[in-house]
């Protein structure tokens, strides 16, 4: 049985993927997602783990109709760049929304969803996706 997913990578990335865990530079305050070991702004290695709010607005998006093997069930997949309240930009799929209903500026929140499966026998990967906030919250 061959596995396409790296088990150590899936395990190592679980907190950023499940909890939107980021790093914050104790020297300059910059927040990085995904987490880093060295700040890309000031070069400091003095970073701490922090959890992002999961609420933000869509900055840009694209719709993928031609998908990789194993992703046909999820198609069309909408990938968005979401700017969170903290000012950090996150690239992630959207869920529970149709391509025609997505707009730049749409308010979204993070939810935990399945993102991929390693065939019928391998690991299931769970991670953050974004879904639109309810209509009344868009104002």
């Amino acid at each position: 049985m061959s596995m396409k997913f790296s088990i150590p990578k899936t395990w190592r990335e679980r907190k950023p993927h499940y909890l939107l865990e980021a790093t914050k530079c104790k020297n300059c305050g910059k927040i990085h997602y995904p987490p880093r070991t060295v700040c890309d702004k000031c070069g400091s290695r003095d970073l701490e783990r922090t959890r992002l709010s999961g609420e933000g607005r869509i900055v840009s998006y694209t719709v993928q109709y031609v998908v990789l093997d194993g992703f046909r069930d999820y198609a069309p997949i909408i990938y968005a760049i979401v700017e969170l309240k903290e000012g950090v930009r996150v690239l992630a799929p959207l869920t529970d929304v149709k391509p025609g209903d997505v707009k730049i500026g749409l308010k979204v929140k993070a939810v935990l969803r399945k993102v991929s499966e390693d065939g019928k026998l391998g690991l299931i990967r769970y991670a953050i996706k974004f879904k639109p906030l309810e209509a009344e919250s868009q104002k």
Binding site: R14, K15, Y18, L19, R51, R72, D73, Y74, T95, D96, V111, L112, R113, K114, V115, I124, Y126, K129, E134
Partner: protein, 354 residues
């Protein structure tokens, strides 16, 4: 059963996927007599999206329960999910949920299985752990993405959804408490699923009298006898809801009028969420109940067993209601889908692997 120290509910939360299929569409698809599903008192059912399963549903319900309990996830000392639709046959669901909520690693927990009643068992186990002082808070989740063979009558009701409860010692952040409980289980083969079988097998009418009705009635009567209560002492009655008809019938047999059952009867609008069924009904009742009111909760799981609880509502419940989305919000936020899309979402279409 009554613990030495009373245990109660600190927070509750539900999650119901937004997708719905009308039962009339399933009727038409498989050539049932029009109006068949009306005889079950079920009109539409909730369908998990293609990227949802028991883990994601349980996570969302638990997040809402923790919000209402106003606690830090790290305070949860035990986490249980009752389900019969685990994403993995071997690998716990609660480790993913616990990790994603920030509960792990200093906790105990497990996935429990007893058909639709496993979450009821989890409540009993949690009461014991909390009453004994071993843990402060327990998180109990009942969640399922119920399976039904296409064209089986079960397909009208088998749905997706979940509920979660944060339990604590009475008076320690609780807004309702368990006055007592009574469990009743026997070996009754009304419904089962063998290993490697994608869909359950059920005993048609056998699921009624010897299973659902006998076990719930026995548990509720046992509860009322042990506490010295009558049906008139309860303000609400919430039963497991395999369809919209059985809870009303069992209520009638036990002497509960319809108006005490309807506030917690949610299955007609979302189907049977299995381990979420009675617990979503209880959530709907908690969202309108007033302090000092008494609620009967009776779970049921095939195989078979029932747990009956008497729950007394306490002060402070009203201010918890709006801390998270309510059952009513989930009922209103819906999108109808076609049978083909439902079939895709539920994995009913077998793709040939190239």
């Amino acid at each position: 059963m009554k613990p030495v120290n009373d245990v109660g509910i600190a927070g509750w939360g539900v999650y119901i996927p937004k997708y719905r299929i009308k039962c009339s569409e399933i009727e038409a698809m498989w050539g049932f007599q029009p109006g068949y599903c009306r005889s079950l008192n079920v009109y539409e059912k909730a369908v998990a999206g293609v990227d949802e399963d028991t883990i994601t549903i349980g996570y969302e319900a638990a997040k809402n329960a923790i919000l209402r309990a106003k606690i830090s996830p790290s305070e949860v000392g035990a986490i249980y999910v009752g389900t019969e639709s685990k994403p993995y046959a071997v690998k716990p669901s609660i480790t993913v949920i616990g990790e994603a909520l920030g509960i792990t690693p200093k906790t105990l927990g497990a996935d429990l299985e007893f058909a639709c009643r496993a979450a009821g068992e989890a409540i009993e186990a949690s009461i014991g752990l909390i009453a004994s002082g071993m843990i402060k808070y327990s998180l109990v989740i009942g969640a399922d993405t119920a399976q039904a063979s296409p064209g089986d009558v079960l397909e009208f009701t088998a749905s997706s959804g979940g509920a979660a409860y944060v339990l604590a010692k009475r008076g320690d952040n609780t807004v309702a408490y368990f006055e007592g409980s009574f469990s009743y289980i026997t070996d009754t083969p009304d419904f089962w699923r063998r290993p490697r079988s994608p869909y359950p097998y059920h005993g048609e009418q056998f699921t009624g009298d010897p299973a659902y009705f006998h076990h719930i009635i026995s548990a509720v009567k046992g509860l009322m006898e042990s506490l010295g209560l009558r049906s008139s002492d309860f303000d609400y009655a919430v039963f497991h809801q395999p369809n919209g008809r059985f809870p009303l019938k069992v209520a009638s047999k036990l002497g509960f009028p319809k108006d005490k059952v309807l506030p917690g009867l949610i299955t007609p609008y979302i189907g049977n969420t299995y381990n979420g069924s009675a617990l979503i009904g209880l959530a709907a009742v908690l969202e309108q109940a007033k302090p000092d009111q008494r609620i009967l909760l009776a779970s049921f799981g095939s195989g078979s067993g029932s747990d009956a609880y008497s729950i007394i509502v306490e002060d402070g419940i009203e201010e918890r209601v709006n801390l998270a989305p309510k059952v009513k919000d989930f009922l209103e936020n819906k999108e109808y889908i076609s049978y083909p899309l439902y079939a895709k979402f539920r994995g009913l279409i077998e793709k040939f692997e190239m």
